[in-house]
Structure formats: structure tokens, C-alpha cells
């Protein structure tokens, strides 16, 4: 339709194959846009033709708005299709897009961390898939995910296979020939092992959440508005359902609350089936090594592949309010996946029972089970510290209430709220203390902490890059220290609060094998950390300093 006139202006930086042809997205995108236009016009047409709504009457406006929104969106999408080209060279994936503002983006192929395939119902209708190409944490350099919206299903699979196969980048002929890759594709997608499948029973773990109310109220308001605008007397209908006068104020509130809860819970249950239907977590053969693949979605399907060689650990997170259900969220700790994305690409299981989560986690990690040793509890001083904080927090709230009461803004009875808060805070302190635990099992560190979400982090010890020990004044008095293991994967670091001070060193030494060895001394011949010796006056220095540095003069060293 339009010659790619900008192509020669920017030669690919990877100097491999300047001739790789630019490709369009699938032409079927246009069909999607046409269908979307027709579908969005439909309500207005039906209202005019079938129900005989007078043109220009107020009732038609929402429908006209809907139609305009749909049609304009479709036109914009078609324009986007017309002006978008992509190509895959030996070294880069390049995309040019934009109608008025041309955007040219490229991702180096060796930086590509994940290639995800996604499809909304309208894509699935036409055999289309959206391919998201992510370069992990390179977002700062403008190399966040590229989306190809959309290509045909076969092309999407071929692209995925091809881009995740980094070793072949130089060997393969360029200029995407997806058809020829069909054979590798079918071979590659057969799972080596299926670790977990969709379980309808897990719907209980998904039915209860604050979102139930958000969902119910949003939905209810939408229905009310829609019915109201088409002339149905909703208020009258609800008023006629029951004798509200007889039930009274409290009863009405209770019934409304129950109705909203029920509505929201059903909505969340439906959402669980829609989002996680056909769920499967499988280990599949990747082009180099194995991949962990999740597939999910009844209508909107999503497939995420995670390179297993990048997985550094697993995190199980048990939300406080559902601890009695033993509910648990499971995610992998891996490099190159955004932890802050709404799509949660690191989550490998829907929320489910902790027993299953532990089994799957052990299988994901392979080898030795990280659950072989049960985590060791932390010293009682850690509980004391938490109880102190809980009490201080309550006191602060009490003082604030006292202040407002003295200013006449609140009655003095509000102080009872603080009194009621105290036992709750103490209980929370106890729960938070009970959550603390740590263990070193084989190649893994196991760290457990957290009040609202008790998270158990299993981290490969070899993945720890920086080890941090922290000690506040209060901790020092209580003989406690916190240890953090920093890593390139996941959230970048995982904290373990309030170990016994002596044990913290042992844990840190195990956490980062070999790193701290030169800095260890026996308690008797070395100075304890509190001691502030003047520089150079320390007698016992066990490790001979083959030092790279000194502040005064350049030492001979190894340089």
C-alpha cells in the first residue's frame, strides 16, 4: 500500500543483513477493524430500526457515543496497521510505526528475554495473535516491550521460536520465512512435563477479595445507568421487591451488603474461569534449554514463556486474610521479567492451596527440595521489637485522637478506638513474628517474613550478588540484625528481618558463599564490630590483604 520509504535512511546497526525485507502485520487486522465498526454501529441501528427510537432523542446519545468510539477506534487501528512495518535482522528486531509521529524502535535480539503471545477474543476470531517482545529490565534505555498487534497465529509461533533461539541468530537465513519453521514449532511445543493444570475447585481461592465490591458496585452502576437510559424504572423495581419499611434501616443495609457481596463473589468466580480456564503450567523444550510455559484464558488467551536457565528461585506469598484457607500465590524469581507489570508474568500458578504451590515450586526448581528443612524461628527479641512497635503505634494513634478530641473535633469516646486497636496491633505483631523464619537447604536460601503477605522466598545461593547486614539502634540493643540478599532477579533483593546478631553473620556467610570469608575473624582475636579502632592500629588481621587499595598510597598489589 505504501512503500517503506524510510527504510534506507536507517541501516540496521547489526550490519548483518541490510536486505531483510520489512513486513506488514497481518491483513486480517483490517477485518477485525471492519467487524468492530459494524458491531459498534449495531446498537444504534437496532434502536432506530427495531425499537423505533426517535432520532435525535436523548436516549440515542449513549449509543451514538458508543458507535463513534468503536468506529473511530477501528479507523485508528486500520491506520496504525497501514503505517506499521517490522523486520527481523540477524541482530535486531525493528518496528516502524505511527501515522503523524513516526516511531522507529529496535531491540537487540540478544537482549530479548521473553516473547509472549496474547490474544483477545477479537483476535482469536480471526486467528490472530499479539506478540509482545520484551527485553527485560532495559526499560530505562527505551527498550521495553515491543508489541506486534497482530500477526497470524502461525507467524506468532514462528516468531516466538525464532526470537528465543539466540544461537541461531547468525546461522539462519534472514527475511522471516515462517512457513519453513512449522516443523520445529510443533516439536517445540509438546511439553516435557505438565506441572499443573486448571482446577475448577480453586475458584474458592478467587471468590473472596475486596475487588468483589469494586466489581459489584461498578457493574451495578453500569447496569443501572444502561437500564435507566433505556427507560426501565430500576429504582421502582428494587423498591417493589421487598417491604423495606418493615425491614428497617439496619436490615436494609444488611440486605444491600449481602446482595452486593453475592453479586461480587459470583462476578469474581466467573472471572476466575474466564482468566484461568485451560490453565496449564508446563516445562517445554526451548531452543536452548527448557522453558516454563503458562497458558491460560478462556476467551482472552495468554501464553508466557520463561527461560528456565534464568530462574533463580521461587516465592510463595500467603495473604493474611486467607491464611486459614492455606491460600498462596506462586511466582518465580527470574531475571528479565518485570515484577511491576500488571500482567504479573512471574506468576506461575493461580492462587491455590499452599501444598500444591510447594510441590510445584520444588518441581520448578528441580533437584533438592527447598522444603526439606523447616525454617528456623527467630529469637524472642524479634517478638519484643514487634510488640514495642505495635504499642508505640497505638500510643501515637491515641495521642492523635486525644489531640483532635481536645480541639473539639471528636468526642472523647473516640479514644476507645485506640484502646481497641492495641490488642489488634499486638496480635499483628505476634503474627508478624511467627512469620519470621530462615533456613539454608542445599543450594537454596529460604527466607520467610511478612505480615500482610507472608512470603517465603527460595533463592539460589549462587544468585546472590551483594549481601547486606543492617542494624538499627534498637536492634543493636535487642541483639538483632537484618540480612538482605541482593540479586539480579525478581525484586532485586530480598530482606530477612531480625535474626539473632551472631547468627546473622553465619546466615550471610552461607547466603553469599565465599564473599565474606576474607572479612571474618574469630571473636577473641579480632575486634567485634562495635569496636572503633583507629585505622591501621588493629593487630589481628587474619586474611592477608592482597589488597587492591589503600587510602594513602597505592599498594603494590596485583596491578
Amino acid at each position: 500500500m505504501r512503500p517503506p520509504e524510510q527504510a534506507p535512511r536507517r541501516p540496521p546497526s547489526g550490519a548483518g543483513t541490510p536486505g531483510a525485507p520489512w513486513q506488514r502485520l497481518s491483513t486480517r487486522v483490517i477485518w477485525v477493524d471492519l467487524v468492530q465498526s459494524v458491531a459498534s454501529l449495531l446498537p444504534a441501528v437496532v434502536a432506530l430500526a427495531v425499537f423505533g427510537v426517535a432520532p435525535g432523542s436523548g436516549q440515542l446519545w449513549p449509543l451514538i457515543g458508543f458507535a463513534a468510539f468503536g468506529v473511530l477506534g477501528a479507523i485508528a487501528d486500520a491506520l496504525r496497521w497501514a503505517f506499521t512495518r517490522y523486520r527481523i535482522t540477524a541482530s535486531h528486531v525493528e518496528v516502524k510505526t505511527g501515522v503523524f509521529l513516526r516511531v522507529e524502535r529496535s531491540i537487540r535480539r540478544d537482549r530479548i528475554r521473553n516473547v509472549d503471545i496474547e490474544a483477545r477474543p477479537r483476535h482469536r476470531l480471526f486467528g490472530l495473535r499479539v506478540v509482545n517482545i520484551g527485553a527485560g529490565q532495559q526499560a530505562a534505555e527505551g527498550e521495553s516491550a515491543l508489541a506486534l498487534d497482530a500477526v497470524s497465529t502461525a507467524d506468532a509461533r514462528a516468531l516466538q521460536d525464532r526470537l528465543l533461539r539466540m544461537t541461531d541468530a547468525t546461522a539462519e537465513p534472514d527475511g522471516a520465512a515462517p512457513a519453513g519453521e512449522e516443523a520445529t514449532r510443533t516439536e517445540g511445543t509438546a511439553p516435557l512435563a505438565v506441572l499443573a493444570r486448571f482446577r475448577p475447585g480453586w475458584v474458592v481461592y478467587h471468590m473472596m477479595s475486596v475487588w468483589a465490591y469494586v466489581l459489584a458496585l461498578g457493574f451495578g452502576w453500569g447496569i443501572f445507568w444502561l437500564l435507566g437510559s433505556s427507560g426501565v424504572d430500576v429504582t421502582g423495581f428494587v423498591a417493589g421487591l421487598l417491604d423495606w419499611e418493615a425491614i428497617g434501616w439496619a436490615g436494609t443495609v444488611a440486605i444491600a451488603f449481602l446482595a452486593v457481596t453475592l453479586f461480587g463473589v459470583i462476578g469474581l468466580a466467573v472471572n476466575y474461569f474466564a482468566e484461568y480456564g485451560n490453565f496449564e503450567l508446563a516445562r517445554v523444550r526451548g531452543t536452548e534449554g527448557t522453558l516454563l510455559r503458562t497458558r491460560q484464558g478462556l476467551f482472552t488467551t495468554r501464553e508466557v514463556n520463561r527461560d528456565e536457565s534464568r530462574i533463580r528461585g521461587v516465592q510463595l506469598s500467603e495473604p493474611l486474610l486467607w491464611r486459614w484457607l492455606r491460600a498462596c500465590d506462586t511466582s518465580v524469581i527470574t531475571t528479565g521479567l518485570s515484577m511491576w507489570s500488571m500482567a504479573r508474568p512471574a506468576a506461575v500458578l493461580p492462587r491455590g492451596p499452599v501444598t500444591v504451590a510447594r510441590r510445584v515450586a520444588a518441581e520448578v526448581l528441580g533437584g533438592e527440595s527447598p522444603w526439606a528443612v523447616s525454617p528456623k524461628a527467630h529469637p524472642a527479641a524479634a517478638l519484643r521489637r514487634r510488640l514495642w512497635w505495635a504499642t508505640l503505634f497505638t500510643a501515637a494513634v491515641g495521642l492523635a485522637l486525644l489531640g483532635t478530641a481536645a480541639a473539639g473535633l471528636l468526642p472523647y469516646t473516640a479514644l476507645w478506638a485506640a484502646a481497641a486497636l492495641w490488642p489488634c496491633a499486638l496480635g499483628a505483631a505476634f503474627v508478624a513474628y511467627r512469620a519470621l523464619g530462615h533456613a539454608v537447604t542445599g543450594p537454596y536460601l529460604v527466607m520467610r517474613s511478612g505480615l500482610v503477605h507472608r512470603s517465603t522466598t527460595v533463592l539460589r545461593r549462587s544468585a546472590v550478588s551483594t549481601i547486606v547486614i543492617r542494624e538499627s539502634l534498637l536492634q543493636r540493643r535487642l541483639g538483632l540484625r537484618s540480612v538482605s540478599a541482593m540479586t539480579a532477579a525478581g525484586y532485586g533483593g530480598y530482606d530477612l528481618p531480625d535474626l539473632d546478631a551472631d547468627e546473622s553473620v553465619a546466615f550471610a556467610v552461607h547466603a553469599a558463599p565465599g564473599v565474606l570469608d576474607p572479612f571474618l575473624v574469630r571473636p577473641r582475636d579480632g575486634a567485634p564490630p562495635e569496636d572503633e579502632r583507629p585505622p591501621g592500629a588493629g593487630g589481628a588481621r587474619p586474611a592477608p590483604r592482597s589488597g587492591v587499595s589503600g587510602p594513602a598510597a597505592a599498594p603494590p598489589g596485583n596491578t
Binding site: 575473624v521 571473636p523 564490630p529 585505622p535 587492591v548 587510602p551 598489589g557
Partner: protein, 170 residues
């Protein structure tokens, strides 16, 4: 060569070998002054000119005066006693903080960049901060208050050593 795990477990960490420059005290003082000085000035002005709010500006003056003394006198001296650093052939090790003390150690095999950076105040005092980053977003080790020549030299040496140590830095 390295002690056995059981042996290591019974050991404690020794402080890193080198102190930072004495000038670092001045650096921390200036930082606190720049932060809390305007606060004190503003509350004194309020005390003088804003008569409507009388008792409160006095409280603000007292509070910011305390902040100033703590920040400009106690904190720098305390920090000078705590801050220490050391580098070896295999690792970078530093202790920082005052109310909260922190020991950080990173193996050179995981080091990605080593830089000597200078803020405006540091330039004024001839100081420099050695910044050692690893692949972890939370794993950087900052050693502030070094002489700028020392920092540059150490950065240079560490960069050279880090290139020699095998490892993919992740």
C-alpha cells in the same frame, strides 16, 4: 584455603580496614546545613513576622534548631566513626550509616560498573564517592567521602580486576 562452614559460622565480621577522609565530616555537615538551615531560617522569619501564629513558630524554631544540631554536629561525627571501607582482590566491603548501620559486601565477579562520582559539594572539598554497581538494582555499594585521587585509583583498579574475574555478573 577458606575456613570450613562450621568454623566460619562461629566467626564475626571485622570492620572494613580503612576510614573515610576526615574532610567527609565537613561534607556531611554542609549537606545537613543546606537541608535544615533554610528550615531554621524560615521558622525564625515566621517567629519574627507572623504574629498571628505566635506559639507555633517558636516550636518550629526549637525543632529545626534541634534538627540542625543533630544533623550538622552529631550525625557527621557519628558517621565518621562508623563509615569504613575495604577492597580486596575478590570483594568490595563497606560499612555505613549512623542510627542504622549497614555492612555491604559484593564479590568482584558480580560487579558491573565501578565509578568515582563527585557531587558539587564533594568537588568543593576534593572528595569523591566510589560507586560499585552489580546486576541487582538494590545491590550497589556507595562509599562516600574518599579523597578524589584515591577514589579514581581504586575505581581504576577495581575495573581492571573485575574484568579478570570470571563470571557473567548476574
Amino acid at each position: 584455603m577458606s575456613p570450613s562452614p562450621d568454623d566460619r559460622a562461629s566467626r564475626t565480621l571485622r570492620p572494613p580496614e580503612h576510614r573515610v577522609e576526615r574532610r567527609a565530616i565537613g561534607w556531611w555537615m554542609l549537606q545537613s546545613l543546606l537541608l535544615t538551615g533554610p528550615l531554621l531560617a524560615a521558622s525564625v522569619l515566621a517567629l519574627l513576622w507572623w504574629e498571628g501564629a505566635r506559639p507555633w513558630p517558636a516550636v518550629a524554631v526549637a525543632l529545626s534548631a534541634v534538627l540542625l544540631v543533630v544533623g550538622a554536629v552529631i550525625e557527621p561525627l557519628w558517621r565518621y566513626r562508623v563509615h569504613r571501607w575495604e577492597t580486596t582482590d575478590t570483594a568490595v566491603y563497606a560499612r555505613t550509616g549512623w542510627l542504622v548501620r549497614e555492612w555491604r559486601a559484593a564479590p568482584l565477579s558480580r560487579v558491573q560498573t565501578v565509578d568515582a562520582v563527585q557531587g558539587p559539594l564533594e568537588q568543593f572539598l576534593g572528595l569523591s564517592t566510589l560507586r560499585v554497581t552489580t546486576a541487582s538494582s538494590r545491590g550497589a555499594i556507595d562509599i562516600g567521602g574518599l579523597d578524589k585521587r584515591t577514589a579514581a585509583r581504586v575505581a581504576d583498579e577495581l575495573t581492571r580486576v573485575a574484568e579478570l574475574v570470571p563470571g557473567d555478573a548476574t
